[in-house]
Symmetry: C2
Subunit: 123 residues, 2 copies
């Protein structure tokens, strides 16, 4: 039986407020502003539960390491700005699935990571 704890509620608030991919430390710090005693292990355990629940997905970003973001955004990919270090979610997909892999390979999923400069840092 699943229990509703203040710790898990805090994590849900964090993701609701900051609706973007976040790392564990960032999540922990934001969560501690709501529940001061929030523990690292609890964050890891709840993130895993939320991923299993389908509330979150885990991203393994080549530059930023492990990030978590809310589900329900549709197919999208990630843009990493090398100036400000933020990760943006870009809707849509520029992959031509016919050219992606040679004959014989059955492509079921894909992930695209873009690197460059975001609009606000480009100015």
């Amino acid at each position: 039986m699943k229990r509703r704890t203040s710790q898990r509620a805090a994590l849900e608030m964090v993701f609701q407020k900051e609706d973007r991919p976040m790392g564990v430390e960032e999540i922990l710090n934001a969560g501690r502003k709501i529940v001061r005693t929030l523990n690292q292990a609890t964050v890891y355990r709840n993130l895993k539960i939320m991923v299993d629940n389908g509330e979150l997905i885990q991203i393994n970003h080549p530059a930023m390491g492990t990030l978590y973001e809310r589900t329900g955004k549709g197919h999208h990919h990630h843009f990493y700005c090398r100036i400000c270090g933020r990760v943006f979610e870009l809707p849509g997909c520029g992959l031509d699935s016919k050219k992606a892999a040679p004959k014989g390979f059955i492509t079921e999923e894909h992930e695209i990571f873009l690197f460059g400069v975001c609009p606000s840092c480009a100015k």
Copy 2:
């Protein structure tokens, strides 16, 4: 001054023989068949040197973690077979750079990871 040691030579032999992306443990095991006393720390140090030299590049694969592959293959991406667990290098690129990111984002680089079933496992 750089010295040519049997350990580094062994690593170069491993990459020459198995010309595909490999993880540290796999590299270590293969290297130990050539130099029995080969140490983990030595592998890490030499992989770093070889990356700095431009002989190897490091890949951060979402499913396989850190991999190393030889340079000089041109632009390509990686296919992960969920059956055999191998990572394949696919030449070419199916990304339409115009559709990849919205206006305002300056895309300098990208990485694509494909997931599915490879030709030999599909049979």
